[in-house]
């Protein structure tokens, strides 16, 4: 079989799975299931990165988004309240949310198509991105964004500590420690 055909089949297959999973994220009636469908979408994105030969991005995506961000979400859900079974999370803002989502989708699609439409990259062989190259680029051309990321992380962490420590007097009511 032609390698390009295989790649095409995988691309559309993964894409379909991602779209279905993304739809289920917002339609499912259980928050933990929603988080799991989100994992499906993110894993699909990682698979697409692999198809684009962006290995480092793919596995960093799995490591950070699947392995950390959604785990944080699951933690948040399990620590507060994540009942098994169905629950109704809808409220009166549903139509508004749909409009916002549709507009966002339109704008993002338009930007991406406008910016990259018709651009073709030859990825095979010599042009295949290596992790070394990514490192060299991050630490030479993108020094400032990289360093600013650490400030962002600092701010996020301090914010988390501030919010988390507020309910200290109630500590004796807690269980499980």
């Amino acid at each position: 079989m032609n390698a390009d055909v295989v790649r095409e089949v995988f691309f559309w297959g993964v894409g379909a799975i991602m779209v279905i999973a993304a739809l289920r994220v917002v339609t499912t009636q259980n928050v933990v299931h929603a988080a799991l469908y989100l994992v499906g979408t993110l894993m699909g994105a990682a698979a697409l990165y692999v198809l684009l030969l962006a290995e480092f991005v793919a596995w960093a995506q799995v490591l950070i988004y699947v392995g950390a961000v959604v785990v944080l979400m699951l933690f948040g859900l399990m620590l507060t309240r994540a009942p098994i079974g169905k629950a109704n999370y809808d409220n009166s803002q549903r139509p508004l949310a749909a409009v916002v989502a549709a507009v966002l989708f339109g704008v993002m699609s338009w930007i991406l198509i406008d910016a990259f439409s018709g651009t073709e990259l030859e990825l095979a062989g010599e042009n295949a991105p290596r992790t070394q190259d990514i490192g060299a680029v991050i630490f030479s051309s993108y020094v400032w964004p990289f360093e600013i990321v650490s400030v962002l992380l600092l701010a996020a962490l301090i914010g988390a500590v501030m919010i988390a420590r507020r309910d200290e007097p109630e500590a004796d009511k807690e269980v499980g420690s």
């Binding site: 600092l154 500590v161 988390a164």
Partner: protein
Amino acid sequence: MTLPAYLPILILLVLSTGFAVFSLWMASKISPRRWTPAKLAPYECGITPEDGEEVGRERFPVKFYLVAMLFIVFDIETAFMYPWAVAYDELKLFGLIEMGVFIGILLAAYVYVWKRGALEWAE
């Protein structure tokens, strides 16, 4: 060159998932099934679970959430370190200083979290 390298991983993924699912399916077919309400009740060391008591309503220490938050920060740091370490021979001293600044800022966060007692688990 990379895509063929993922073929074995794909096969392994399919094979191991298939194996696990098949084992569970087969077990559900060949094993006896004599369910009783007592057997299916949540295990609480013999104490009868109270009706209507929802599982997961207890409050956990918020520290668990903080740990997950800290984990994300350090996970991102780790993810940045891999390309840095691979490209270290090219980056040389400049790379060392850059990573030093990056880690330095994160260490400030780490020290802050430490001093605020978020890493203390013994009350």
